[in-house]
Amino acid sequence: MLTEQYGPLQKKMFQIMDETGAILSPDLVPDRSEEEWLQSYKLMLKTRSADNKALQLQRQGRMLTYAPNTGQEAAQVGSAAAMEKGDWLVPAFRELGAWLSRGVDLERVYLYWYGNELGSQFPEDVRMLPISVPIASQLQHAVGVAMASNIKGESDVTVAYVGDGGTSIGDFSEALNFAGVFNAPVVFIIQNNQYAISVSRQKQTKAETLVQKAVAAGIPGILVDGNDLMAMYAATKEAIERARRGEGPTLIEAYTYRLGAHTTSDDPTKYREDEEVETWRDKDPVKRMKAYLIGKGVWSEEEDAKLIEEYDEEALEVFRKVEASGETKLEDIFKYHFREMPPHLQEQYEEYVQYLEEVE
């Protein structure tokens, strides 16, 4: 069990691959074909392209506030890759790589950040909850979803995400505690990207690691190099399997870094040193995985450059579609509050429509 070797109190970080893409522990490499790793890698690239494009568009004033993922792709794609068909994904708001891995359309994602609630109207077969802005509150939903799986006797597992900042909020602790008590089949993944907006991980808690918060709930945990796709996959896989066997929840701390800004509204130079960022650029999860795949002979610089270009174009294409979608339809802001619109809401809607007709 990885959680025994790299448990909350071992003060060791689980890694399979080093910063150059070299395998540190061949026996720990998960049983997956090179093709499968390549697929995951492509999802990482796609995530990064989508990020870059969103930022670029935002600077052009075409996109609204956007929360970038660059640097965290392995934590996101690696964990999601370990999920199976019926499993549920419960996001915070910075897991683009995981969403794309689970079949969410980039179009929906862009639509959301473009400011339309239709961006959260996922297709029926995508078992993902919408983005949750109130930090950590989503973890309780995740536990509830997982408890329901238990109650109904179904074997689906729920994978939920939260940031390092989110571990300070009461909802986080309550969720872990409920998960422990009800033996809920849920995997909590902390993307510890070292910052909550400007507040560094060190100011967030005196705990030496975030994963040791699992101890409070009496559940297992593991500290993982979040920039190591293979380690993230392996740790999540083990946790999901444990949950599916009826052995309850796990907390995973993915130790990673947000290379970009918190969102397009902030300026990270105000609160961190370039030097620090540079150190982490060396640990870039994409670079690392690329080196591995090229080393294995299943990928090349040329293919890489070409694919990035493709993804960039695709992202722009998708955005153009989103941009063309225009404003939210008036009726949409009224009609989804209840199965049936209550009379007062119906009236407010009609009055407003009438007003709009009058002023036109």
């Binding site: 549920w88 419960v90 609630e117 239709l118 959260s120 109207q121 996922f122 029926e124 909850l129 919408p130 949750s132 802005v133 109130p134 509150s137 973890l139 309780q140 939903h141 995740a142 536990v143 509830g144 979803v145 997982a146 408890m147 329901a148 799986s149 238990n150 109650i151 109904k152 729920t158 009461g170 909802d171 309550e174 969720a175 505690n177 409920f178 008590v181 949409d332 989804y336 509050h337 209840f338 199965r339 209550p342 009379p343 007062h344 809401l345």
Partner: protein, 325 residues
């Protein structure tokens, strides 16, 4: 037909629905083994097992938050909050998620869930055990808020609430949990959410109230009748959305309006009803629509609570002022 008080009706109704619908689950603090501090769930864990009726750790936010997740994943959770005054730790979950999930996902997810709790005061309880949430919940778009004043209504409304595909907050006036009994049909029936009930017709003044105050208002009505005043007494039953039609129709007839509630006056539910009456019956008004409301104070603990809660006499005095305006 069995004769039941309010609390045993709640118990009976949960039983009916747990039996009928496998997706219903019932939980909260002390809800399982003990059967609830008011005994609302007594016997249900034994009958339906620990998977469907269970105790939770002490954490209101997680009680509501996990209910959200359960509702998303195919269950119909009925969560108990031990007292309405302990809902506040769950307020973020309620306002940010319970009320918004359907709209946020443009209909993709919806939350068939009920949060039920003892509500209101007058039971000589400790601090925080007498709170009225009418405004604090009624103001939140996306919630339905219901409060029965009789065992009969409680069953019909609670069944509607559990079967509703949207979240319903179910406020149970704890003061009348055991105050009186009533015949409650064994069989299945529902009472629509969003409909007030005219308890007694009258022509001189419209009196709207709900929860435990309904019974005090009916006593006040007797005092008024003695003085020849014909009040129309309406039990609001649903705090949100309000049944405007019933109220406005009544005020158009009587020309006078009084709303009586336990909650603090300022920004209280009475204000909303007065605004509605202005919108719907302005030209019929013969006196200022008036609220008889809680003072703008923290509800006193027992030795002072009689100052806060109104009795029939005080209600009658307030109504008379409006009639004689």
């Amino acid at each position: 037909m069995a004769v039941m008080n309010l609390i045993s009706t709640i118990n009976h109704t949960l039983d009916v629905e747990l039996e009928r619908d496998d997706s219903v689950v019932v939980f909260g603090e002390d809800v399982g083994l003990e059967g609830g501090v008011f005994r609302a769930t007594v016997g249900l864990q034994k009958k339906y097992g620990e998977k469907r009726v269970f105790d939770t750790p002490l954490a209101e936010s997680a009680i509501v938050g996990t209910a959200v997740g359960m509702a998303i994943n195919g269950l119909r959770p009925v969560a108990e909050i031990q007292f309405s005054g302990f809902i506040y730790p769950a307020y973020n979950q309620i306002i940010s998620h319970v009320a918004r999930m359907r709209n946020r996902t443009r209909g993709r997810l919806h939350l068939p869930m009920v949060i039920r709790m003892p509500h209101g005061g007058g039971i000589k309880a400790l601090e925080h055990h007498s709170e009225s949430l009418d405004t604090l919940l009624g103001h939140i778009p996306g919630l339905k808020v219901v409060t029965p004043s009789t065992p009969y209504d409680a069953k019909g409304l609670l069944l509607s609430a559990i079967r509703d595909d949207d979240p319903v907050i179910f406020l149970e006036p704890s003061k009348i949990y055991r105050a009186f009994k009533q015949e409650v049909p064994e069989e299945d029936y529902t009472i629509p959410i969003g409909k007030a009930k005219v308890l007694k017709e009258g022509t001189d003044v419209t009196v709207v109230t709900w929860g435990a105050y309904v019974h005090e208002a009916l006593k006040a009505d007797k005092l008024l009748t003695e003085e020849g005043i014909q009040a129309e007494i309406i039990d609001l039953r649903t705090i949100s959305p309000i049944d405007r039609d019933t109220i406005i129709e009544s005020v158009q007839k009587t020309g006078r309006f009084v709303v009586i509630h336990e909650a603090a006056k300022s920004f209280g539910p009475g204000a909303e009803l007065i605004a509605l009456v202005n919108e719907g019956a302005f030209l019929h008004l013969e006196a200022p629509p008036t609220r008889l409301a809680g003072f703008d104070v923290t509800i006193p603990i027992p030795r002072g609570e009689h100052h806060y809660f109104m009795d029939a006499q005080r209600m009658a005095a307030g109504i008379k002022k409006v009639v004689h305006y």
